[in-house]
């Protein structure tokens, strides 16, 4: 990576126009290659290490065994069921996190009267481990799905919350001044000035919050669930079924990744990238 490889916004806009169809086609083929060679290499290394049996195969199964397990579990419907169940919990937790963290983060950044009393409480709550809340979660919400969602919620609000706040305090004050001089109502200032101006932070926070809502699924689902990907992984672990553990991990990885690509990359493309606020 040299300084020359460093993309500059404008340079990307108007590259040489003389690309031939052949070149474009080659590019089209090269693209996935450029992105996936390292992943392929990692899988190959994994395969080689696994078949060498340095480690017991039930702890480090070969990729092929994992794929086979994925296929079997898909065929039996076990995987799909658990995906559906976990997705429901994770998405509910994520949606609640966003619904809470976005407005609260905006207020933290925006209003001193709100920030001064609320921030210390949040900063104190933040470092407390999610698992430490389990007894109280059960006390308040019982052992149903509510507690699982509470743990997901309480673990995943933070990146969006604090990123939104940081985004808002980093807004160039001139935008607020311009909004005020144009007689913008508070609500429109929120929605049309503050939020878009802080969007690079908010989108990064959304990504992190989304990822976190998956990351805590094992911890949340061993709370009291007999279903879901987290339970599936824990259960497989107890039975020393390494291939099922890794199959579960890969399923979560893919679910997270696909959403990341389709939702967040898209959101970024139609907002901050289009506006030139991010490369």
């Amino acid at each position: 990576m040299s300084l020359a490889s460093f993309e500059t916004r404008r340079a990307a806009d108007g590259g040489p126009a003389k690309e031939t169809a052949v070149k474009l086609f080659l590019n089209f083929l090269a693209r996935p290659l450029r992105h996936l060679w390292l992943l392929a290499a990692v899988i190959i290394v994994w395969h080689v290490v696994a078949i060498s049996e340095i480690y017991p195969p039930f702890l480090l199964p070969a990729p092929s065994a994992v794929v086979q397990s994925l296929i079997e579990m898909t065929r039996s419907g076990y995987l799909i069921d658990n995906i559906g169940i976990s997705l429901g919990r994770q998405m509910t937790g994520f949606a609640l996190s966003v619904a809470f963290a976005l407005p609260v983060g905006v207020l933290l950044g925006y209003s001193r009267a709100f920030r001064e009393p609320v921030q210390p409480i949040l900063q104190l709550l933040y470092p407390i481990p999610g698992l430490a809340w389990v007894p109280l979660a059960i006390l308040w919400f019982g052992i149903g799905v509510e507690s699982i969602i509470f743990v997901i919620f309480f673990s995943s609000i933070w990146p969006l919350l604090f990123n939104t706040q940081a985004g808002i305090t980093s807004i160039n004050p001139i935008y607020r001044r311009a909004a005020m001089a144009l007689g913008t109502s508070q609500w429109r200032t929120f929605t049309r000035v503050i939020v878009p101006a802080a969007l690079p932070f908010i989108l990064a926070g959304l990504r992190l919050t989304y990822g976190t809502s998956w990351r805590v699924i094992v911890g949340a689902e061993i709370l009291s669930a007999r279903s879901g990907l987290g339970f599936m992984i824990d259960n497989a672990r107890g039975l020393l079924r390494g291939e099922e553990v890794i199959a579960g991990m890969i399923t979560i990885a893919l679910l997270g990744y696909l959403f990341e690509k389709f939702a967040f990359d898209f959101l970024e493309r139609v907002t901050i990238k289009k506006w030139g606020m991010s490369l």
Partner: protein
Amino acid sequence: APTVTVVSGRLGWPHCMPFIATEMKLWEKYGLSVDHRDLGNGSAAAEAMASGSASFGYINVPNAVTLLQVGLPIKILAATTIGGTSVYTFSEAIKSVADLKGKKVAIPRGVTTHALQFEMYVLPQAGLSKADVEIVPLAPTDNLTAMRRGDVDAAVSFDPYVSQAVALGAKVIVPPNKMWDGPAYSAVVAARADFVAKEPETVRKLVQVHCEVIKFINEDPKKAAEIVNKLLRGTEKDLALQLDSMRSLTFTAKIEPAAVARFADAMVKFGLIKSAPDLGPVVDTSFLPKDVM
């Protein structure tokens, strides 16, 4: 001598022996250098042995069977405790297992003997099947809260949680001795087969220490309870609880291969494993001192 890593589960009576041995410096007495690690759950102990981080450990029977089933040669060398599991409730309406029909019952999560005992023995004894009750996997620490809220009606658990609950007014509807047909081992002493083959003398000493601790516990339960209570930072009240807990258990190193095999069969029936491993050559009582067998 090179240091031996010994793993166990969390400090509770079934896994107490290495804790007490360390506390009483029994390893040193036998010329052993032992690094004892207690892990948060049974899976971790099994994984530690499978990965070679530890060659000797205190693990649950289902974990031992699973290790064998996935192909890790181990030897089961001794028992630790028998019993300990009970079913209890706070509900007035539930007087016997039969009353659990349609009720929610909390069971320790993971692959445990507790679930096997309850579902494969206790329920059928009362003419019920798995489908007749709603099983809720739950950490034993959360039982009290869940029961208070009415989220579960009864719980299958072990000590000190049962004694804790009883102290708060729960009643035991299935005592430990009615939980299984024959000796129900809470945990066993196991070692990797390669380790046993390579260092039989070390293994013999480790098992001797184990047996000496069990002898000590049986001879002076109060002293043993004090040691455990001190390690747990318990109070006077907790000490009483520990002593209560000990009454529900039999401390013994003696192990019957057939009883272990029955668990393996139950696991197959339960659907946890496809076929039971041959336990014949696995349960190796040759390291136990003569007076124990």
